[in-house]
């Protein structure tokens, strides 16, 4: 029998590594060591990781290897290494959320996502870089310095989960966890040529996910293939009694859907409002080509209109800062994390204010003040209240569109990766990155970004977003997998193979 694997360990996808381990061709410890070596070799340049615990990773890899040797029943991802976004708590491991204010904090508890990863035997390599408290689309707003895009080190890897996406594209880890509040899984996936999924709100527990905006946040899988994302999705999803907003229903069979990959007869809605003006030429070109591929695969592509999507960005930048201003209040220097200015004379109010001033970066302060403004008496109805009504309108638009189509599609981001520093103090320009991804967060349904090629003008990856109704996450995988296979067939290889050597 031919070996499962061919070539460099770190370039393999998770499913292949898992099969190779099952076949006894390689151990988890070897794979983990290979990833750690790769991190040693390239992370100085990429800076995807904020923290790597080699000993702990190797120890958990060896545990899986021992279990396998004793013929224990193991999950499909047992022994596969993973990079965890630094916004999820992991007992005893520093969790900074990319912020100075949490420097040195070691949570005394595991997030549910980490708990499920441990149960699945997944080997956690370390914590990945992110925009501070997930506020940003470039990972430049990390207090610990930016992450660089492996496709071009002068460019951003997207954000807020740029670290997780870059770790995949730099072959530092085959799997990663991201969180998506307005596109923080999907946009980094798009600009790094990887796959990212925002599950249905409530599909993956938020317990232990340090909240940015509670009604929008959702953790999800990041991977280099749709199948890997499905396997990871399956491992982390499902009801959790510790999260009141967790959905108490069976997880859609996303792995079967990824395997099925048949979209003949599927109705795909092209959202008129998410495209055209403001979208880079190369993005539009690759998107149009992908639509042709989908049609060739037997899908019926129809145009749908979601007229209120136009207001999504505005509503989002009211709801998010409002919730964030409250969620981030607890970082006051009293119980954990940074404390500044406590000289035995200063009052508690002064110490809190100095701590927060020193501990938060510019974007976080900007959004906290915006949220404080939107919620304050006299403005609530005009801003927060109205934004919540827009939210209803967006949900109605989705409902109407899903009457006409099984899934909806759009470019994931309007542009390819931009240069580091280009938009860092231009919040409005930065916010436009999320224009296509935000509606899904507002309505709570699910979406995926799949790579569809490189933009001709800059040679950088372009992503296509697939959106499905709440609880129909399996449709994302069916359509995403079909598109991925067709493109790989067309190119003769996976897009990620084209990443320049580091």
């Amino acid at each position: 029998m031919a070996p499962v694997m061919d070539g460099d360990l770190v370039r393999q996808d998770a499913a292949t590594l898992a099969s190779a381990m099952q076949a006894g061709e390689v151990s988890s410890a070897e794979i983990t060591q290979a990833c750690l070596d790769r991190i040693d070799a390239v992370d100085g340049e990429v800076h995807a990781f904020l923290y790597v615990d080699k000993d702990a990773a190797l120890a958990s890899a060896r545990v899986v290897d021992e279990q396998r040797a004793s013929c224990a029943q193991l999950g499909p991802l047992a022994g596969v290494p993973l990079a965890l976004k630094d916004v999820l708590t992991m007992r005893g491991v520093p969790t900074t959320c990319g912020s100075r204010i949490l420097e040195g904090w070691r949570p005394p508890y595991d997030s549910t996502v980490v708990e499920r990863l441990r149960e699945a035997g997944v080997v956690i390599l370390g914590k990945t870089n992110m925009d501070e408290f997930a506020m940003g689309s470039s990972t430049e707003h990390s207090a610990y310095g930016p992450t660089r895009n492996p496709w071009d080190l002068e460019r951003i890897p997207g954000g807020s989960g740029g670290g997780s996406a870059a770790a995949l594209a730099a072959f530092e880890a085959p799997l990663a966890i991201g969180t998506d509040t307005g596109g923080s899984i999907r946009q980094p996936a798009a600009v790094t040529g990887t796959v990212g999924v925002k599950p249905t709100y409530g599909g993956v527990s938020r317990y232990g996910l340090v909240a940015l905006a509670s009604s929008l946040d959702q953790a999800g899988p990041c991977a280099r293939t749709v199948m890997d994302a499905a396997l990871l999705h399956q491992a982390i999803a499902g009801h959790d009694p510790r999260d009141s907003t967790s959905i108490n229903a069976p997880v859609p069979d996303v792995v079967a859907a990824a395997r099925n990959a048949d979209i003949r007869g599927m109705k795909i809605g092209l959202v008129r409002e998410l495209g055209g003006e403001g979208y880079q030429d190369g993005v539009r070109q690759r998107f149009d080509e992908a639509v042709t591929v989908l049609t060739d695969l037997g899908a019926e592509v129809v145009e749908v209109s979601c007229p209120n999507f136009e207001y999504a960005l505005a509503a989002y930048y009211l709801i998010l800062p409002s919730e964030a201003s409250s969620n981030l209040a607890r970082f006051d220097g009293m119980r954990y994390g940074l404390r500044v200015g406590d000289d035995d004379q200063a009052s508690v109010e002064e110490v809190m204010s100095q701590t927060r001033e020193a501990g938060f970066g510019a974007e976080v302060k900007r959004r906290i003040m915006l949220g404080t403004y939107a919620l304050s008496s006299g403005y609530y109805d005009a801003y927060y209240g109205q934004a919540q009504k827009v939210r209803t309108l967006i949900s109605r638009d989705f409902a109407a569109a899903f009457d006409q189509a099984d899934v909806l599609i759009s470019p994931t981001a309007p542009t390819t990766a931009f240069r580091i520093g280009e938009k860092v103090d231009d919040p409005l320009a930065m916010y436009l990155n999320d224009i296509a991804t935000i509606p899904v967060n507002l309505a709570g349904n699910c979406a995926m970004s799949v790579p569809i090629g490189l933009a001709p003008e800059d040679g950088l990856p372009v992503g296509l977003q697939i959106m499905a109704p709440a609880l129909a996450d399996d449709r994302l995988y069916r359509a995403g997998s079909a598109l991925e296979q067709a493109l790989v067939d067309k190119w003769g290889h996976e897009l990620i193979e084209e990443v320049p050597a580091l």
Binding site: P108, L216, Y311, L338, E349, M369, P427
Partner: protein, 98 residues
Amino acid sequence: MAQISREEVQHLAHLARLELTDEETAHYAEQLSAIVDAVARVSDVAAQDIPPTSHPIPVTNVFREDVAKPGLPRDEVAAAAPSWEDDRFKVPRILGED
């Protein structure tokens, strides 16, 4: 054109416990005004009869049984504290109250 003055920025910063520098205050006054202008368009569409959405997925009545379980060991609680004394979190003096 929404105009958020420096005084207003300072008031917001106080509510949010941020001790901004003068430079930041001026910068944020300008940026917040522009952002508020951009987001104010939510008022254009949302008519009276549209119900607001606070929770994206409509779920109600999620409760927990009233059963007490052990919490965290106190040494772990203390380990994170910036300042700790007599088994309690030590915090600076509180002003503004009698």
